[in-house]
């Protein structure tokens, strides 16, 4: 299918979809409407479970099984990337040369690293209370660690980031989530049910398993993104194809 034909097929399809979609939009409940049946029930359940952040309560308490699915998709994507970006036959690994970086930027990276890590842990720990949670905190932690690569160079980052440890951390995060679910079964209620006493409202220990699952997801997301970026950095900075590989292709 040549390019113009493909474009025409798309344009016809797009016009049809646009017309139908616009027509459907006018039948949707108007923006800002008052009819949110699921939302009201979710908020009521969240308050009953002493979880201040209703979104975290939905994610880790009422729909914890779906979050397990999301987490497994994330784990599979990381696994796929690790397999795809591994160092194959005919490639050799050169160690990265130090980058000429201004002192200001280097100092910024070194000073910001602890601050970013503290904020990352704060976002993960306050998941059940204020906006935040395992998913967001995990990403902030992973980005915090890469401040060393951004502000310094890959050698500095590699020294403090043993990739094997983070691959294990990724798996442990996922396993901790499942084990917490099984613990609920052992305690005699459903898989991933919130059996832990809910604690007092709006305190760090409130919400029962929501806090535990938050930490498990935070660990898995942080380690998963670090492993992802490690593989991309290896490919972009270190791994080069040797001459005979290109000749043979």
């Amino acid at each position: 299918m040549s390019r113009p034909v493909r474009l025409w097929v798309f344009l016809v399809g797009a016009v049809l979809v646009a017309a139908l979609y616009a027509w459907a939009c006018f039948d949707l409940p108007s923006f800002g409407g008052d009819h949110h049946p699921y939302g009201d029930r979710a908020v009521r359940t969240a308050l009953a479970q002493h979880t201040a952040n209703a979104v975290s309560s939905v994610n880790f308490d009422q729909r914890a099984f779906d979050t397990l699915g999301e987490q497994t998709i994330l784990f599979a994507a990381v696994l796929g990337t690790v397999v795809l970006l591994r160092q194959v036959r005919g490639e050799r690994r050169t160690d990265p040369t130090p980058a000429p970086v201004a002192d200001r930027v280097r100092w910024f990276g070194v000073l910001m690293l602890p601050v970013a890590l503290v904020v990352g842990f704060y976002v993960v720990a306050h998941g059940p209370l204020s906006p935040g949670g395992g998913f967001q905190g995990g990403i902030v932690l992973a980005t915090a660690l890469h401040l060393l690569y951004i502000a310094a160079d890959y050698r500095a980052l590699e020294r403090i980031r043993p990739v094997g440890l983070y691959e294990v951390g990724d798996a442990v995060g996922e396993a901790a989530y499942v084990v917490t679910g099984l613990a609920a079964v052992l305690a005699g209620s459903a898989f991933l049910a919130n059996v832990v006493p809910h604690g007092t409202f709006n305190t760090l220990s409130s919400g029962g398993t929501v806090a535990v699952l938050n930490i498990a997801v935070g660990m898995e997301v942080a380690c998963g993104i670090i492993v992802l970026l490690a593989r991309f950095l290896d490919q972009a900075v270190e791994i080069e194809e040797t001459a005979e590989e290109t000749g043979a292709r």
């Binding site: 390019r3 493909r6 474009l7 798309f10 797009a14 646009a18 979609y21 616009a22 939009c25 006018f26 949707l28 409940p29 108007s30 923006f31 800002g32 409407g33 008052d34 949110h36 699921y38 939302g39 979710a42 908020v43 969240a46 308050l47 201040a52 952040n53 209703a54 979104v55 309560s57 939905v58 994610n59 729909r63 979050t67 999301e70 998709i73 994330l74 994507a77 990381v78 796929g80 990337t81 795809l84 970006l85 209370l129 204020s130 906006p131 998913f135 967001q136 995990g138 990403i139 409202f201 709006n202 997301v221 998963g224 993104i225 992802l228 593989r231 991309f232 490919q235 194809e241 292709r249």
Partner: protein, 114 residues
């Protein structure tokens, strides 16, 4: 105003797919896919909005307050993170294609099969 966010979500979706169809570089195509994904977040979060409501986070709010819908927020929140890792997987595929076929132009890739 009552339908603007929904139409904007539709526009972002169509423009993303247009970019995907006419892309000459697979990395650009992955970027367009990210744009298309973000249209679904806009639609999800716009449906959950309630006029005069505030975020369903009760750390600094009395429990009886009028809040927006937390369920759609939970859906969008996890999807953004998973979408990032799926983008990484797609980029890894692009790197593999580059290694194996030496090109990232989807049209040239199609010719290779012939």
């Amino acid at each position: 105003m009552s339908v603007l966010p929904y139409l904007a979500a539709g526009w972002i979706f169509l423009i993303g797919v247009y970019g995907l169809v006419t892309s000459r570089n697979l990395i650009h195509a992955v970027g367009c896919l990210t744009v298309t994904q973000s249209s679904t977040y806009v639609l999800l979060v716009a449906i959950g909005y309630r006029r005069g409501g505030t975020a369903p986070v009760f750390s600094d709010l009395p429990p009886g307050a009028r809040v927006v819908d937390p369920v759609v927020q939970a859906l969008a929140l996890t999807d953004i993170v998973v979408g990032a890792t799926v983008t990484a997987l797609l980029l890894a595929l692009v790197v593999q294609l580059r290694k194996r076929h030496g090109t990232v132009d989807p049209d040239k890739l199609a010719e290779l099969r012939g």
